[in-house]
């Protein structure tokens, strides 16, 4: 996503991991961790 935003012309692209995000079910959470799945916040601007 970060790369896509930059390639599409956005500037000042920032990202941070969302603290506390997790799946409700343990099995889903375990699978998510195996794939490096995480929630992130991203901000960016369209050049003025």
């Amino acid at each position: 996503m970060f790369r896509l935003l930059e390639e599409s012309g956005f500037q000042r692209v920032r990202s941070a991991v969302v603290p506390g995000f997790q799946f409700r079910q343990t099995s889903t959470q375990n699978s998510a961790e195996a794939y490096g799945v995480k929630a992130v916040m991203m901000t960016a601007e369209k050049p003025g």
């Binding site: 996503m1 896509l4 935003l5 390639e7 599409s8 012309g9 956005f10 969302v18 506390g20 995000f21 997790q22 799946f23 409700r24 079910q25 889903t28 794939y35 490096g36 799945v37 995480k38 929630a39 992130v40 916040m41 991203m42 901000t43 960016a44 601007e45 369209k46 050049p47 003025g48």
Partner: protein, 203 residues
């Protein structure tokens, strides 16, 4: 090649139906158990403003299925036009409307027309006039350079065409406009069995 394109289109159609079914289920059965946290519990997990949650319609809060809090860095100002991409039952749009104020405007876009109606009803209950369009985030039904801020919470990951979604966000934003999105990303390529299973992909 044609077979591949047709297969992709077919899978996307199935995925669209599965996404509508899953999030409609959350809205219709807010007390149900899902693999993700939802409702007020999820909103509190992501530090949503308690007063905003108290003042929002119960149905909008109960149906919340986001993965973070895009309002933390959205900095919506009075008079701004805000697009909530994948607006669901409307909680994020309602919160944005508080900041945009009566001179601002909040627009929702959602795959599911019944969710649009629900979001608009929830917004109306708070005194906000929310516009909501049935549509796909890969083809946003808005004109070029028509919004100041785009919010999105946990929906872009559902698209097979993320580049197209990002290009659409860029297109509808005014110069100097900004996005504040929270979403799920994966550090590893998902296995083909996940990609080809609409239920898993929608999850």
């Amino acid at each position: 090649m044609t077979d591949s394109v047709e297969a992709q289109a077919e899978l996307e159609g199935v995925l669209k139906d599965e996404i509508i079914r899953m999030y409609q289920d959350v809205a219709d059965n807010p007390d149900g158990e899902f693999h993700f946290f939802h409702g007020r519990q999820a909103a509190e997990m992501f530090a949503y403003d308690a007063r905003a949650l108290d003042e929002a319609p119960e149905g909008a809060v109960a149906s919340f299925a986001g993965v973070g809090n895009p309002h933390v860095r959205s900095n919506v100002q009075p008079g701004e036009t805000v697009l909530d991409l994948g607006s669901g039952a409307g909680l994020d749009a309602i919160i944005a409307a508080r900041s945009a104020g009566p001179t601002g405007k909040v627009i929702g876009v959602d795959l599911n027309p019944s969710m649009c109606l629900k979001a608009q009803a929830h917004a109306a209950a708070t005194g906000s006039d929310m516009e909501c369009h049935e549509g796909r985030m890969e083809n946003v039904p808005l004109t070029d350079e028509s919004v100041d801020v785009i919010l999105s919470n946990g929906v872009i990951n559902l698209s097979f065409q993320k580049r197209k979604v990002v290009e659409e966000m860029f297109r509808v934003l005014r110069p100097g406009g900004r996005i504040s999105i929270t979403d799920i990303v994966s550090a590893k390529q998902l296995s083909q069995s996940i990609v080809n299973d609409p239920k898993l992909w929608a999850a």
